[in-house]
């Protein structure tokens, strides 16, 4: 299974429809301070059913919805979707046979989140399991947040155990 495209709208500073191709190899993301680079990466973590507002640098999950600027009103909804290619037909059950997959997470202010996989509503738990089966997920050690690269070094030995479990 390959991650192929991330789409977002209304997520943090990405109020307009935005599409990021996730291509093989090394893709650099650049831009001045405060322009939205970390927000873009957080959209991917959020889509993978993160339930921690703290990892979104927020106090409430509603804070991920576009909160407006001097010239634009706040929004009440945010949506992120990820397209995956399944040419090798190795996606976790029950998605083994489809060619393409789409995972969507939507949030509405005051109403909470909803998840869809290939158009079908699923629970948060199902989305977490889907990505865990792909050796990924919102808490995967392969997603290194800004300033957190040395966090593993300062963690207690018992906190590092989850790292191993993800590699098993």
């Amino acid at each position: 299974v390959q991650f192929s495209k991330l789409r977002l709208q209304g997520f943090k500073s990405f109020v307009e429809k935005t599409e990021l191709e996730i291509m093989p190899g090394l893709t650099g993301i650049v831009g001045p301070n405060g322009c939205g680079k970390s927000n873009l990466l957080e959209a991917l973590r959020w889509l993978m059913a993160s339930n921690s507002a703290k990892s979104m640098r927020s106090s409430s999950m509603d804070d991920v919805i576009f909160s407006g600027t001097a010239n634009r009103p706040a929004r009440n909804m945010a949506e992120v979707s990820l397209l995956l290619e399944n040419r090798a037909h190795n996606a976790p059950a029950p998605y083994g046979n489809v060619e393409e997959l789409e995972v969507v997470r939507r949030i509405e202010r005051d109403y909470g989140s909803s998840y869809l996989i290939n158009g079908k509503p699923v629970r948060q738990r199902d989305t977490q399991i889907f990505f865990a089966d792909l050796a990924s997920g919102a808490n995967s050690p392969a997603l290194v947040s800004q300033g957190k690269v040395a966090a593993i070094i300062n963690a207690k030995p018992i906190e590092r155990r989850s790292i191993l479990e993800d590699s098993a």
């Binding site: 939205g36 792909l134 690269v149």
Partner: protein, 162 residues
């Protein structure tokens, strides 16, 4: 489940040692499972010794040394159980130019050997130059992010317009 964990531990430990000595140009490092208060849940201890130095506690390592040690461990886990995507948000910030180069060498090698796709946020020109492609995020309209594709030549113009 216990055998799987032990097998994973051995694999991560082997990769960790070789990545550490590669990034530091020598020295040694290893992992150990240590008994916690509850014997059924052991913790993971990290031992790291840069070349020519005595083994000290991790907290005495410098900012750059800690980042390189942490990256050795993250990438070792990665090699043990490759994930479809790896996201690194300014991990090169504490590194000097020589270490930025080494990290990019290692990323290039892992990206070529595996199917993993890397998204690397950086302010470092050296890192930018080593990427396969660059996307720029701009706020042409203040407070509103937009994604554009950029190449190295446009970079200077791009940064100025910020």
């Amino acid at each position: 489940a216990k055998e799987r964990l032990t097998a994973a531990f051995d694999q991560v430990n082997t990769y960790f040692q070789s990545l550490f000595t590669r990034l530091f140009g020598g020295g040694k490092a290893h992992l150990e499972m240590i008994e916690g208060d509850d014997p059924s849940v052991a913790g993971l201890e990290i031992y790291a010794q840069p070349p020519g130095k005595n083994l000290t506690s991790l907290s005495l390592l410098s900012g750059g040394e800690q980042a390189l040690t942490a990256l050795s461990l993250i990438l070792a886990m990665f090699l043990t159980n490759p994930a479809p995507v790896c996201v690194l948000d300014e991990v090169d910030a504490p590194l000097d130019d020589a270490n930025v180069d080494r990290i990019c060498d290692v990323l290039r090698e892992i990206a070529e050997k595996s199917q993993t796709r890397f998204l690397v946020v950086t302010h470092h020109r050296l890192t930018m130059a080593r990427m396969d492609r660059l996307f720029g995020v701009t706020m042409a309209e203040r407070g509103v992010s937009q994604l554009v594709s950029v190449n190295m030549e446009q970079l200077d113009m791009f940064a100025e317009a910020a």
